[in-house]
């Protein structure tokens, strides 16, 4: 059970994942139309409301989180993360972008009321392999680090966390 969480967090790497994505391709229009009443946005908002912990994953483009992630966050209520524990994760092509999590993503999450944003992690693209059947493997040391972070995140979130993911 523990092991599948990094994959969830990094699902943007694998559109073929068997887990239901928060928004599928046809629903992306809901993001850019700023359509707060779109069923996909209403569902996402409710999912966040119910969650005790949220894994936020994003690729780093242009030294920051993706526009797609921010478009989703823009449609959530201002304080959608109040009282929640957050695990921020990012992927990118170069370690030169590591600080994007702390300087770009965290301030946005804090502004949304996040109570506890645990130490996150930056995963190099080359440490993630998406196989033909849609499964993902992660380089051994990175996988161990992610497992440790997931454990810390689970502990911080509480005994029986319900998790939401975004990214």
């Amino acid at each position: 059970m523990r092991r599948d969480k990094p994959e969830v967090a990094l699902r943007h790497r694998s559109p073929e994942s068997d887990q239901e994505p928060l928004l599928d391709g046809h629903q992306h229009e809901a993001l850019l139309g700023a359509n707060f009443s779109h069923p996909a946005i209403v569902a996402a908002t409710e999912l966040f409301e119910r969650a005790d912990g949220v894994v936020i994953g994003t690729p780093v483009y242009k030294a920051a989180y993706s526009g797609l992630l921010k478009s989703l966050l823009d449609l959530l209520p201002q304080f959608a993360l109040t009282g929640k524990t957050i695990l921020p994760l990012a992927t990118g092509g170069t370690t030169a972008h590591v600080l994007a999590i702390d300087y770009a993503l965290r301030p946005v999450l804090t502004s949304m009321g996040a109570d506890h944003i645990v130490q996150g992690w930056f995963v190099l693209d080359r440490d993630i392999t998406v196989h033909e059947d849609g499964t993902i493997s992660i380089e051994t040391r990175t996988d161990e680090t992610l497992s440790r972070l997931i454990d810390q995140f689970s502990t911080a979130t509480g005994r029986t966390p319900r998790l939401a993911t975004a990214g």
Copy 2:
């Protein structure tokens, strides 16, 4: 001529503007589909290539630029702003978000190779009025400040600047 530039920069406040928007409603899908070959994205990329100066305007949501703006920037080439002069503008409901221009937007623009990002400005929503006929009026002191900034931007951009706008 000088006067219309703040309006251009702040066009996101006025979808009824008679100026052609960079992307219209139906083309927003191009942003979220990460469709680099979509005609609207190709056209936007070419517009940026030709421009000497670019006005980047965004509302501030969740203490940062909008996801919509970032989605556009994500689809441009990594160094789409090399050699260009940039005027960053933002609008928001509270002065508490003023620093979002310098801490969130500028680093992204710098990562895209921007050579010269002049001093920008944060305009309070309440200082902008969109009239029924689609025209915009801006509170007098803010308007004067914007005019001064536009002048500095024009000088920095060069004698006969061609401008692109985004936001």
Copy 3:
């Protein structure tokens, strides 16, 4: 007991405070000399080691934390905040600098291993009055907000927290 904590956190506002400052005037040289073996730095490092929770307070100058605070943090071990709960507080002359806590201070604290940085607060200079006898009074609503934050911080830190302060 609860009430004295904002004063501790904001002690930099009141050099006349009867509480022992972390470093007194003559010991400031230890900061700039990068003198890791100076008794005042050794003592500060040990104080941080023993603490479960740390209140970090700083005035905002030039849109960021003070150089004095950063000079102290620079002399602490790289991961001096690992496993600790942090309450970040700032004071400043204008609400336009509110985001300095989240965009400037938090990333530094996160890089030092901070496990849990709770929601902080920005206090306007004009809401703090230092009286002739060295006591401090804080504007009523701000005082209530700080008390609530201190309670949340105490809860996050644990049952019997030992606190260190810096700033």
Copy 4:
């Protein structure tokens, strides 16, 4: 002439440099005492006033500029960089801190009125060698990059720039 500028910018790496430092050891107390009338601070302020271009160099500690640099900037007037061209440089042990220039240092310089902050550079500690006689050598490719940046900076600053350095 061109060649000595990176060394100036990176002088903090070489206290034995034959160039006069802005502040010597005994004057550091002026920084932390917030002593605006100290002769060393008055001299530094005047040096900034006269300069058309300023090279700001800093080591990266704890994911940001040094407290020592910020202490100097804190003592300068709020808009000490108005109308000036700035070249930001940083050194550090890991490329993971590259973004500290754009996310931490630039916002501070912008808040001080800097008109034009050109593209900066992050130099790895291991690419700089301080020899026994106090001279510095810089790894070839880094040296070439710095020379190119210095040229761009000189061009941006103007025909006959007078330079100040800090860091």
